[in-house]
Symmetry: C2
Subunit: 475 residues, 2 copies
């Protein structure tokens, strides 16, 4: 169930306004030179062109990504990747966040991309469910350790990388995803190529070649979900895009119509498309504005319940023993995806709305620790979990919940969550992001180091060297 419903599970953040997708037939002529328009956009956009809100979102995206990469850095998936590939790495040009190893920039891009996705806790574009930061930041942070990159140039590259991958993703979503591709890896490679190419100062023609080299290296089948290979996808997309930009910088030629050509990326990997998503309001709106961040370490359909239960926990300071029973009214999709009554592992806990409610009431959180094997086996939690019941209510949105908690002394406490925290309509505050960051970095970086690192992320625009973020994130 985990795998097959992944798309709807991730996409089920209520409150999103998703424009209806009208696929174009391939007999319709593409707009002239879509790839060239994107290349020109990347080449010509300057830091000064970016609205303040866009720059701020870039800092939030960066901080969230750094926290996820540090938090994931000790995962066995990362250990396996480093152990397999470090013997073939070049000089220690770039660091692995949260660890002591340094690798060449291409390997570092791969490994940091893996770390940042391995907990399934990274950012999500609200329309196309791409995880935008992984392919882009993994590449440009490594590059920034190898050659001088100012914070403002870093922000510009980050914004453009996300813009390119998400515009391309929008143009083929959902048919590309429905074909079985993992869109973060397949569209992400363009984001990495664009951002890396921007920092390398590619000419327009070289940027077109970088896109061609990116197009020819899509990464990621959905069949890999549930295995370590899923988090390989954003990492390899970062590495492939950086490779594409480096090759293009040495005039390694490629197609100059890699998106729209008859046998180009769009036609080969998608059964439908709408190029307007790529070209519309180019340079006026930036897709990073549609980025969202997960407050809780599970799929978004459980977020409203966790949000509400944490609020009840904070407001009433109840012990589990004081709770007689809890009733949740939820959208049908919640029960379709997360109806495990008695999860046995942390991973199964991510698919149990009963566990989610109980742990949030008991511990006041929904982070990594609350979806561990320890948490789902905790006697207090399992006892309370058995007193949680659900009622399906189709009038609710997917990111809403109505909670009725009855105490043993007869009180009836109600909580209606209109939009779960972290959804597009109720974004995580900067403070929320900092709390999440600290939770992820706990035990890996000292509190002082955490604050120093968050400070660097918030101040990214003004940093003389963007690479200092990677150095501050080393263990």
């Amino acid at each position: 169930m985990v795998n097959m419903n992944r798309r709807v599970f991730l996409a089920a953040s209520g409150g999103m306004s998703v424009a209806p997708f009208i696929p174009q037939t391939s007999t319709q002529a593409p707009p002239a030179e879509v790839t060239r328009m994107l290349a020109r956009h990347v080449i010509s956009t300057k830091f000064a062109n970016l609205p303040a809100g866009v720059r701020k979102e870039a800092a939030r995206t960066l901080l969230n990504w750094v926290g996820c990469a540090v938090g994931g850095s000790r995962h066995e998936t990362v250990d396996a990747a480093i152990s397999a590939l470090a013997p073939f790495s070049g000089p220690g040009q770039a660091g692995i966040l949260g660890r002591k190893e340094r690798l060449d920039i291409l390997r570092a891009a791969l490994v940091n991309g893996i770390s940042s996705h391995v907990l399934d806790f990274d950012d999500t574009h609200s329309r196309n469910i791409i995880h935008p930061a992984g392919p882009v930041i993994s590449a440009i942070l490594a590059l920034s350790e190898h050659r001088p990159v100012s914070g403002s140039d870093f922000v510009t590259a980050l914004v453009l990388g996300v813009d390119v991958e998400c515009r391309i993703g929008n143009a083929v979503y959902p048919p590309h995803y429905d074909t079985g591709w993992h869109i973060t890896g397949t569209a992400g490679v363009f984001g990495s190529a664009a951002a890396s190419g921007k920092l390398l100062g590619l000419s327009e023609r070289q940027m077109l070649w970088a896109f061609g080299l990116a197009a020819t290296q899509p990464v990621g089948l959905q069949e890999m979900f549930g295995t370590m290979t899923k988090s390989f996808h954003p990492g390899r997309a970062a590495e492939n895009g950086l490779t594409a930009a480096l090759l293009a910088s040495r005039n390694f030629t490629s197609s100059e119509q890699s998106l729209e050509a008859k046998y180009g990326w769009v036609n080969v990997v998608s059964t439908g498309h709408d190029y307007n998503y790529i070209t519309r309001k180019l340079g006026e709106t930036y897709e990073i504005s549609q980025n969202t961040y997960k407050p809780f370490a599970c799929g978004v359909v459980m977020h409203a319940t966790i949000d509400g239960c944490i609020q009840l926990h904070n407001e009433h300071k109840l012990t589990a023993n004081q709770v007689d029973r809890v009733e949740l009214k939820v959208h049908p999709l919640v029960m379709q995806l997360t109806s495990k009554k008695t999860p046995q592992t942390g991973l199964e806990g991510k698919f149990s709305i009963y566990h989610a409610a109980a742990i949030a009431l008991v511990e006041g959180g929904g982070g990594i620790a609350q979806f561990s094997d320890r948490a789902v086996r905790d006697a207090t939690v399992t006892s309370l979990r058995d007193r949680v019941s659900t009622v399906v209510d189709s009038t609710l949105h997917e990111d809403q919940v109505r909670i009725v908690l009855t105490t043993r002394d007869g009180r009836r406490l109600e909580k209606f969550v209109e939009h779960a925290v972290g959804s597009a309509d109720h974004p995580m505050s900067d403070r929320d992001l900092e709390m999440k960051f600290s939770g992820l970095a706990e035990g890996i970086l000292s509190p002082d180091r955490q604050h120093q690192l968050m400070d660097l992320c918030w101040k990214i625009e003004g940093l003389p060297q963007a690479g200092s973020i990677a150095q501050a994130a080393a263990a």
Copy 2:
């Protein structure tokens, strides 16, 4: 024209017996565990299981590939790749054939794969037009320099790698190709993973994971034809497959049904398939037996004409001045693809049947030198070219030609070529392969070194260290 007709151009080797393709619908259940059957085949097959003819074909495939890699090694495409990526390479674990550089094994696999394909002169599977050697040998030769691999183990891995990629290719050809994928890069990655995984001694489960990691990294859109990125495809396929095997060897997990799963490779990258091509006679027949080698440095539809003109050149020792006119009767496809009357560059010469006839009569060859800018501008050749005429004859096969040459002194010389040399029905002899090898290595390796290297290829089975081939091929 070059790009769009590439498939039919390459496939137009007459005399091939191509079984009709009957695509299966995706609602039909796949045979149980196709991926596992392939993994078991790779794990269990031993050198002693390989028939003598298969082993001999492996040596021929190796010799032909080494010649192509040496011959392509000085191409600007290879220069660009090395200049872009060498700064990020690990230790000099493996050599670049025909050059002095040494790179880590993954980068070496990439660059040798590029070299070996950049002249479009490497081997071609007669059914699915995969260039089988590039993805496989580029990977395992690099690996053989890094850890001890005997010649017999090398041959076993080579045969199995080609078997895996070509069986998978057969299962989706032609619909996969017609979708726009460059099958050498997309199926080739499985060949590299299988061969590399065999040498790394993967368990069955690890081999399944290696296939999963390969499946998720297909390389190559046909849109890239005509650019340097085309030869990037077999190189990157080699590198990706080797990466997949290395990761799997450290228990980096992946799907165990990466071919046949609903969102696995076959369903995602092809609109039709027939799994029988994968499972039929597994361990009884080997696809390397269907490998062919190009005698001439151009598309196969011109090969019969070159073959016949070289025979006339050798038999009659005519000077161009003695020739009054030449008439060629050819299959219609020849004129569809190669009708340029006045080519201006070596590349255009590859699409001129007139140039091909003239240069073969004048110089008695059809190698790299005969499709150079120099050759198409040679006054003697252009003068003779203008006296070549063509007649379309639908009763001929694509690999046939009827040549009528009239001399100035009134003689009428005829030559009918029933199957061009290099076609499946008239394979190149070992001696032909050696001549081709020498032509490719000329000016890069000394004649002594050429003979030493060819000797090592012929004797591959008995070599204590297969990696000695790479060392002997260094400049």
